[in-house]
């Protein structure tokens, strides 16, 4: 079996609140192959972004605890690297695209300066060469007038163009792994389609592994081959996109899917919602965290934690899958 581009093994994140460990990410493991995109979906606050930050090692040092058995990029463990070696990887081997391009770009520098700076930081090179690479990258993300864009300040661009610029910053070093943290959430519908199209194109071009974080299953379906459904810091179901949409096995995944409104010719069906509320991180129920809201829960669901039922670590973590 070939080495996956990204392998996350038994990752946990927690913070301490008045002496009590509050888990945010709870023993999750997954792999993504080169050229694949995997979606990480779940409601707000379920630990998606925390997972991304923990992989990058960018969680604030104070307040958060991280433990893991290993985070490997192309077989090389990066979880034990010291700060300066880790910095050498960030942006070069693993890059992140943020949700809010308006605030993730520095307002006092031009797009060209910012994209060029990422490349120069990792590969050095003369002024001419950096500029050449920068312009090529801007063109590769879909800018026609790369020269004009390079000279523009972030506030002179529209939201979609800023996100493209962010993508250019993330891809200028052609990283093996791109983490996209809700890259289209802040954008309107048609811009979203454009961004997704470019992302997909670049992924195919560089054969990058993409971890696509979103709360929008529809978007995930457009771009990802595999999908992981996260709830309260745990992965509830991990499978390929098509099986999830045709036959979701975990009751939570099924609940999420039924929340997507369907447009049909006949009388609209009422959109169903999952009963109850997401428990807060400090007050998680024992056993399966979803059990109190689950219509199929039985006694053991409230006591013990179900393991994923697939041998490879995928499948549904449920005692009574659909």
């Amino acid at each position: 079996m070939k080495t996956p581009a990204l392998k996350v093994d038994d990752l946990s994140v927690w913070f301490e609140k008045s002496g009590v460990r509050v888990p945010v990410v709870d023993h999750i493991s997954f792999t993504i192959n080169a050229g694949d995109a995997t979606g990480l979906v779940g409601e707000s606050g379920c630990g998606k972004t925390m997972t991304a930050m923990a992989i990058l090692g960018l969680l604030p040092a104070s307040g958060f605890g991280v433990s893991c058995a290993g985070i490997e990029i192309n077989g090389r463990d990066i979880s034990r690297l010291n700060a300066s070696r880790r910095r050498a990887i960030l942006g070069r081997d693993i890059a992140i695209i943020f949700q809010q391009p308006a605030t993730a770009l520095d307002p006092v520098f031009t797009i060209g300066q910012q994209v060029g700076a990422v490349y120069r930081r990792h590969f050095g090179g003369g002024k001419k060469q950096v500029r050449q690479t920068m312009l090529e990258t801007l063109e590769s993300v879909g800018f026609k007038q790369a020269d004009d864009i390079a000279a523009a300040y972030p506030h002179q661009l529209s939201g979609g163009m800023r996100q493209l610029a962010m993508i250019a910053m993330a891809t200028v070093c052609k990283p093996a792994i791109i983490i996209a943290d809700e890259p289209t959430t802040a954008l309107d519908g048609s811009t979203r389609t454009l961004i997704l199209h470019q992302l997909k194109h670049l992924q195919a071009l560089h054969r990058a592994a993409v971890l696509f974080i979103s709360h929008d299953l529809g978007v995930v379906r457009q771009i990802c081959r595999n999908v992981m459904v996260m709830y309260c810091g745990r992965i509830m179901e991990s499978t390929d996109c098509e099986s999830l949409f045709s036959h979701a096995r975990h009751p939570y995944s099924a609940g999420l899917l039924s929340c997507i409104p369907r447009i049909s010719a006949g009388r609209p069906e009422p959109v169903s919602a999952i009963p109850g509320q997401v428990p807060s991180a400090g007050d998680l129920p024992a056993g399966c965290h979803f059990a109190p809201r689950c219509t199929r829960a039985e006694a053991r669901c409230h006591d013990s934690v179900p393991e994923p039922d697939d041998q490879t670590g995928g499948g549904a973590a449920c005692f009574r899958p659909l």
Binding site: L58, R87, A95, A102, T103, D106, V118
Partner: protein, 279 residues
């Protein structure tokens, strides 16, 4: 400074007035430094206390020196003090304030805040006198006293601003491309404070020139050369005898330059306020 900023500044009539006044004085200062103006400031060229005439526009002083020449030379003195103090104290304040803000509530922050607290609690004129005494009348004692104390205000403002900026997402983005903390301060945090530094710089400039006048008046200021402060010190005796030359020349110059700078600082503040541009 972007083109938008310049456009906004241009449409501010008071600000442009201020800029013109400051530019005229700056040109005079340049003229003095390049040896074109005010070179005869120490020459005795007339009788004592002559009135205004075509030869001596502002008259002459007690020993017959031309007051216009002395006023022109005083402009250069004011700019020399202002520029030196502004550049040095702003640099010091930016670096120390930036470090304190970046490592806020850490030990470095504590030390810088403690230093700032100590310096702020010493009465300034007493401090200036002490520095002058300690340096045995060195001509740079006054500059040093100002630099060492003026950075604290800049540092306080920059510290607060840095604490605000470091929570912004583009700082996280800088970390995500592997930029070390100390480089992030200088590459992404401090450049985002330039609008504050520009305004604070003009304020320090005004304060430095003002303080020079007071210190020279007290005899702690300019040692060789002439300044508006020294002229005003002379005039305090002269006005009693009805000789207003020094007083009018130095006083109105000081007033005009201060006014110009304050108007410019005000307009700059408005023109550079880009909050809301990027949300």
């Amino acid at each position: 400074m972007t083109r938008d900023t310049w456009q906004r500044l241009k449409s501010d009539r008071f600000g442009m007035g201020g800029l013109i006044v400051v530019s005229v004085f700056a040109l005079i200062a340049l003229g003095v430094w390049s040896g074109l103006l005010g070179q005869d400031w120490s020459e005795v060229s007339g009788q004592h206390f002559e009135g205004a005439s075509a030869e001596h526009w502002f008259g002459t002083n007690l020993i017959g020196q031309d007051i216009l020449q002395r006023t022109l030379f005083g402009t250069a003195t004011a700019f020399e003090v202002g520029l030196l103090v502004t550049v040095c104290s702003t640099l010091l304040g930016t670096v120390l304030g930036g470090l304190a803000g970046w490592y806020s509530h850490g030990w470095l922050d504590e030390i810088i805040l403690w230093l700032k607290g100590v310096l702020d609690s010493i009465p300034f004129y007493l401090f200036a006198a002490a520095v002058a005494f300690a340096l045995q009348g060195s001509p740079w004692a006054m500059h040093l006293a100002m630099i060492v104390t003026f950075w604290t205000t800049t540092a306080r403002i920059i510290r607060g601003e840095v604490m605000r900026i470091k929570e912004r997402e583009f700082i996280e983005a800088a970390r995500a491309i592997g930029l070390p903390g100390i480089k992030t301060i200088f590459r992404h945090v401090l450049p985002n404070t330039y609008h504050i530094l520009l305004v604070q710089g003009t304020i320090v400039f005004v304060a430095a020139i003002n303080t020079e006048v007071i210190l020279s008046f007290l005899g702690l200021g300019i040692q060789d050369g002439v300044s508006w402060g020294l002229m005003l010190a002379e005039s305090s005796q002269e006005v009693l005898g009805g000789h207003f030359g020094n007083f009018i020349a130095a006083g109105s110059s000081l007033f005009l330059l201060m006014m110009g700078f304050n108007l410019l600082a005000d307009a700059l503040q408005d023109a550079l306020d880009t909050r809301g541009l990027l949300g």
